[in-house]
């Protein structure tokens, strides 16, 4: 789900950088408006490490393989910290393993960051004063929905980036196959986010105060 270097035209890469920079600036503005902006840095760094490591774990979905995205988990647990955390994780993945890419860092930041913010917004909107069963359902929706949104963004950006004279129907078919391969991952990530949130709610609810 990472767009590698070399695929996208320069205009799209620069557009991704601009959007990612805007998202980061907005996130940092929200973070710096807090009474102690640095209070959540340890948690954000910890989840950045989880994000960094998890997306290198490939899961077989025959005949292809997919990797964990964790955008939903990042958004739900980190709130506004999710965007800078994701960008840092993506940067180190690109530098250390060539996973993703430096010119595609902005685009990948959008593909992972926007779903994280959407998951954050969804949980903040629907989880307040709700029952445990409803919280589990919202957590599942946030985790699974983030994957679906990420795949949709990835497919849209790739379609926009490939040359126009190529066979659009064939491209759409290939991207549809890719999207279908990610549907089981959406279910898995929904289940994992629901399990993590359920555990933390019972054991350490203070870790759930993202914002």
């Amino acid at each position: 789900m990472h767009v590698p270097d070399g695929i996208l035209p320069l205009s799209l890469s620069l557009g991704g950088v601009a959007v990612a920079a805007g998202l980061t600036a907005l996130s940092l503005k929200r973070i710096n408006a807090r009474s102690d902006p640095r209070a959540d840095v340890p948690r954000a760094a910890l989840l950045t490490a989880v994000f960094f490591a998890a997306s290198l774990v490939h899961i077989p979905v025959p005949p292809a393989s997919v990797h964990l995205m964790l955008s939903g988990l990042m958004g739900v647990l980190l709130g506004w910290f999710a965007v800078p955390a994701i960008l840092i994780g993506l940067f180190f993945q690109a530098v250390m393993f060539g996973h993703g890419g430096l010119t595609a860092l902005g685009v990948n930041g959008v593909i992972f960051g926007l779903p994280a913010l959407a998951a954050f917004g969804l949980t903040r909107l629907l989880m307040a004063h709700s029952t445990p069963a409803r919280e589990t359902a919202v957590a599942f929706a946030a985790g699974a929905g983030a994957v679906v949104l990420g795949v949709a963004l990835f497919s849209g950006i790739l379609l926009a980036g490939l040359p126009a004279h190529l066979d659009a129907a064939a491209e759409r078919g290939a991207l549809l196959a890719l999207a279908l391969a990610h549907l089981p991952l959406a279910v898995v990530e929904g289940l994992v986010v629901a399990a993590v949130l359920g555990f933390l709610r019972r054991v350490s609810p203070e870790l759930l105060r993202a914002g």
Partner: protein, 246 residues
């Protein structure tokens, strides 16, 4: 420095290495003409030679993205285009798809090789300090430094937990239906590591990390550093300009 890292090379200052990499990578991603791609490959080979890039460092970086790019490069000639070049059994290779696939593969390989040549010899904490000196917000620099400390701890913790789960009879394999157990394992790992993370960060704050008036790590660029940087940026931007003019 990793065993398979490139040698320090003609640019010592990591800030200038980052600037050179960004300039060259974005420049390369704008190229599409065959002669420009040939010059891009030549420039990349010169850089790899100049910085003593070992093939192992490049191979390590090709492992993950290679699958995505390989899929695109293999599928495009078979699925896109109208001009038939050849039939291989039931498959048809088309010129337009092959052309785009070649451009993508060359740009990808050159950008990855340049990144490996310029950055593989820079220790990661020093790379973060260089980014901070180039304007990365202090909060993000602190997060990056703290993250680097956590990665190995998390990897070992996760491995211990997996072994413990298997010893308790949990089936192996990702699709073994252990999502809730895996989620709980991840959550308890986060809980355990969180307290440690806060202690480390407080120690970092005491040492001055993230302070508004903290003096950034000193970097000094030599005349040779600047000369090589300017030469690389001129070469990269020259290629882009020439492609648009010609």
């Amino acid at each position: 420095m990793p065993a398979d890292a490139a040698r320090p090379g003609p640019i010592a200052d990591p800030r200038l290495r980052v600037v050179a990499l960004v300039g060259l990578a974005f420049g390369f991603s704008a190229l599409a003409e065959p002669w420009a791609l040939a010059l891009m490959v030549a420039l990349t080979l010169a850089l790899a030679w100049g910085f003593g890039l070992p093939p192992a460092a490049l191979a390590r970086r090709l492992r993950w993205p290679g699958t995505v790019v390989a899929a695109v490069v293999i599928l495009l000639p078979l699925m896109s285009g109208e001009t038939v070049l050849a039939h291989i059994g039931p498959l048809t290779v088309r010129a337009e798809g092959l052309e785009v696939a070649t451009v993508i593969a060359l740009r990808f390989l050159c950008i990855v090789a340049v990144a490996a040549a310029l950055l593989s010899a820079v220790p990661l904490p020093r790379l973060v300090a260089a980014l901070r000196a180039l304007g990365l917000p202090a909060l993000m620099a602190d997060m990056a430094l703290l993250m680097l400390r956590h990665v190995e701890d998390l990897r070992q913790g996760l491995r211990r937990m997996r072994v413990a789960m298997r010893l308790r009879g949990a089936p192996a394999g990702f699709w073994a239906g252990q999502f809730r157990a895996n989620g709980w394992a991840l959550a308890s790992l986060l809980l355990r590591s969180h307290a440690q993370s806060e202690r480390i960060y407080h120690a970092m704050i005491v040492r001055g990390h993230g302070a508004a008036r903290a003096s950034p790590e000193p970097f000094r660029a030599s005349r040779r550093d600047w000369t090589v940087l300017i030469a690389l940026l001129l070469a990269g931007s020259g290629l882009v300009l020439l492609e648009h003019v010609l």
